[in-house]
């Protein structure tokens, strides 16, 4: 495994910006997640690193080597796509063996057998090795396609929303599994998603992309607790952070125009009067939708708290975040 360094990387498609001036270091053995909505440049970054696209400007260093002019095969990366692409006429075993039989790797047969047994064990598909790929469930197929990357020992794994086509339960299981696999292999992994839960739960480092730019890069905890902009603050946290005019509660630092209050960071019993509009009982938590001087606010309370629409409560921020007119954090 290896460290990957991006230096001032840019790529446009005609007049559309793919990514613009992205610099980041993916440390050896890190699980880095790129988070952003559709069109933020996540997949473009992956494709540039893998060599499927050529950068307009900037450099890509893998394991201390500038790979700008290398072909995808020479770069020694393994990619997993959102849509699993298996050979339907081959068994699971042959699908897993395929990458190892490539002319570049030319792996000996006993080594292939050992590798497949190991990866199948890790992914819990050992009992399906002799099944045809088409006889698998969606979750199993995606595990096989992840397995096809894992049988190799590339310098970095690149994964493009590999869990997004799976149902909720399976996604939850595979999240834990994937993180365990990455940690046990000590693999360097760059993972792209628009799902904040995946980013927070799996990553050692999260990079938040906005319109092709890397706007913040740090541990999930840093990004959640210390976002540098309104944009980043809104990307992490469920329900979403409440954004209101800064002066609503008083005490706003100078230069700030907006206050951000996470739903779980709202105190009750003091501060401003708000009216309960709606009560959502989600079981493990109850969400209150409030109206405060015409502003909608969501807060989270104890699941068995007894509120009804129309009730009046007082609220005040706890650990609020302030932002200026351009959406930059004000400290």
């Amino acid at each position: 495994m290896a460290e990957v360094v991006l230096k001032n990387l840019s790529k446009s498609f005609g007049s559309d910006v793919g990514i613009a001036d992205v610099s980041m270091t993916i440390p050896d053995g890190a699980f880095v997640v790129l988070l952003g909505p559709t069109g933020a440049g996540k997949t473009t970054t992956l494709r540039l690193i893998s060599g499927l696209e050529k950068a307009d400007a900037g450099e890509i260093w893998i394991g201390g080597r500038n790979v700008g002019s290398d072909t995808p095969a020479q770069r020694d990366v393994a990619m997993v796509f959102q849509q699993y692409s298996l050979y339907p006429h081959l068994t699971v075993r042959d699908n897993l063996a395929f990458p190892l039989k490539s002319p570049i790797l030319k792996t000996p047969a006993d080594e292939i057998a050992r590798k497949i047994a190991e990866v199948a064990g890790v992914l819990q598909i050992s009992h399906k090795l002799d099944n045809k790929a088409t006889e698998l469930s969606g979750g199993e197929m995606q595990r096989v396609s992840i397995g096809r990357a894992l049988v190799r020992e590339p310098l970095i794994y690149l994964m493009d929303e590999p869990l997004s086509s799976l149902d909720a339960k399976l996604r939850t299981d595979l999240r834990v599994e994937l993180k365990r696999i990455q940690a046990s292999l000590g693999a360097t992994l760059l993972y792209v998603t628009h799902d904040q839960i995946e980013a927070m739960t799996m990553a050692t480092h999260v990079g938040v992309l906005n319109e092709g730019r890397l706007v913040q890069y740090g541990s999930p905890r840093e990004i959640y607790e210390n976002p540098n902009s309104l944009y980043v603050a809104s990307r992490l946290g469920l329900p979403r952070i409440n954004i209101l005019p800064a002066e609503l509660f008083g005490g706003a630092p100078s230069g700030s125009t907006q206050i951000g209050m996470r739903p779980e960071h709202i105190r009750q019993g003091e501060g401003q009067d708000a009216t309960v509009r709606r009560v959502e009982r989600l079981g493990d938590q109850t969400r209150l939708h409030l109206d405060l001087q015409g502003h909608a606010i969501t807060t989270v309370v104890d699941p068995h708290a007894d509120y009804t629409p129309g009730a009046q409560i007082k609220i005040a921020p706890r650990d609020p975040l302030y932002f200026d007119a351009r959406g930059q954090r004000v400290l």
Partner: protein, 365 residues
């Protein structure tokens, strides 16, 4: 508006049984969710209420009138499909007017009604626009408007938000619920998304394999699941199941879990054999003490909270704890399970054992 009573309804497609004798009541003005995995019979149930399928047996009452064999047009129910179908060659106003014009309503009344509905939905400013150029949200509002203009007794919605991306879906679900709160129309809504059901519904019916598993408010279903299926399907992460072999006496207030005495709500029916101890992740706390122990396998950071996966003598379990608390992978920790919230199940039937906690809810359901 209307109350809908479903009594012993059944639907067979040839030899395939899609819905088995199901009964529940949708009260006037309720936002009612039919929830379950694909193939559970929820859409078939909805289509029977709307009249798009005729039940093999059983009755459906709309405001006291038995309607199960009436054609859809005689039921006064509006149906909103997953894929919103609009007439592409007409503008928004004509799309909204069409259902009324085809009913033979006077032109002036149509105009007034369309204005009223456009007002409710906040689409007055796009009435004269062609539907082709509308955003996804506006298309959806127009489609809803077409269902609303007729003033039906009830609305049927089949995963209306299913095709949307997560962010937009969240926004539309809030809008839909707010619209319901303004109009108070009885709404039956099909979804496979448990969070959506909990968020939007006044009541939920959970279906699985053609059978109603449970019927109640979101909080009842979450806190007092009637079956292992419901306990597993509702909640994320879902309820932990600790499997054990044992005996629970009628009146017992604890069980033996791998040699440890665990308090439970007073049992009211007694059972023995293969049993399951069910506890939700947020009711598991980690401590240094505690005789019941587990090894930390993984920690998932979620901001304010984190999810800890543990290996216990009775199987894997998850705990939702404060993210400030430290839990190191590989460490063995004591586990406290909040006794008041525990549900015991009979593993062979999957049914919850009756206890002080759930007696009232199970008696209803």
């Amino acid at each position: 508006m209307a109350q809908i009573v479903i009594r012993n309804i059944r639907k067979d497609f040839g030899s395939f049984n899609a819905v088995r004798e199901s009964s529940f009541t949708i009260e006037d003005g309720e936002f009612f969710m039919l929830l379950g995995p694909s193939g559970c019979g929820k859409t078939t149930t909805l289509r029977m209420i709307a009249g798009l399928e005729l039940p093999t047996s059983g009755e459906i009452y709309l405001d006291g009138e038995e309607i199960s064999q009436l054609p859809p047009s005689k039921r006064d129910i509006a149906f909103v499909f997953q894929m919103f179908a609009l007439y592409p060659h007409m503008n928004v106003r004509r799309n909204l007017s069409y259902p009324l014009v085809s009913q033979g309503m006077a032109r002036r009344d149509v105009r007034a009604k369309v204005e009223e509905v456009a007002n409710i939905l906040g689409i007055q400013n796009i009435l004269n626009r062609p539907v082709g150029g509308l955003s996804g949200g506006d298309r959806q509002r127009v489609a809803l408007g077409r269902a609303i203009v007729r003033d039906p007794k009830a609305f049927m919605m089949d995963e209306p938000l299913g095709a949307l991306d997560a962010e937009f879906r969240e926004h539309m679900s809030e809008e839909l619920r707010a619209l319901h709160d303004r109009m108070g129309a009885t709404t039956v809504y099909v979804t496979h998304d448990q969070l959506e059901a909990m968020q939007m519904g006044d009541k939920i019916v959970v279906m699985n394999n053609a059978v109603v598993e449970q019927f109640g408010t979101p909080q009842q279903i979450y806190d007092k699941p009637a079956t292992m299926f419901v306990a597993d399907f509702i909640g994320s992460p879902s309820m932990n199941f600790l499997h054990f072999d044992g005996v629970v006496a009628d009146g017992a207030t604890n069980v033996d879990l791998n040699g440890q005495t665990m308090a439970v709500p007073r049992n009211l029916q007694g059972a023995s054999g293969k049993l399951v101890f069910g506890v939700r992740p947020e009711h598991v706390t980690l401590s240094d003490a505690g005789g019941y122990r587990g090894e930390v396998l993984a920690a998932e950071y979620l901001g304010t909270t984190q999810i800890i996966t543990l290996a216990t003598p009775n199987g894997e379990m998850k705990a939702r704890i404060d993210s400030a608390q430290v839990a190191k992978v590989g460490e063995t920790v004591g586990l406290n399970l909040n006794a008041k919230t525990v549900t015991l199940f009979d593993e062979s039937t999957g049914q919850a054992l009756r206890s002080e906690l759930n007696d009232e809810v199970l008696a209803d359901g």
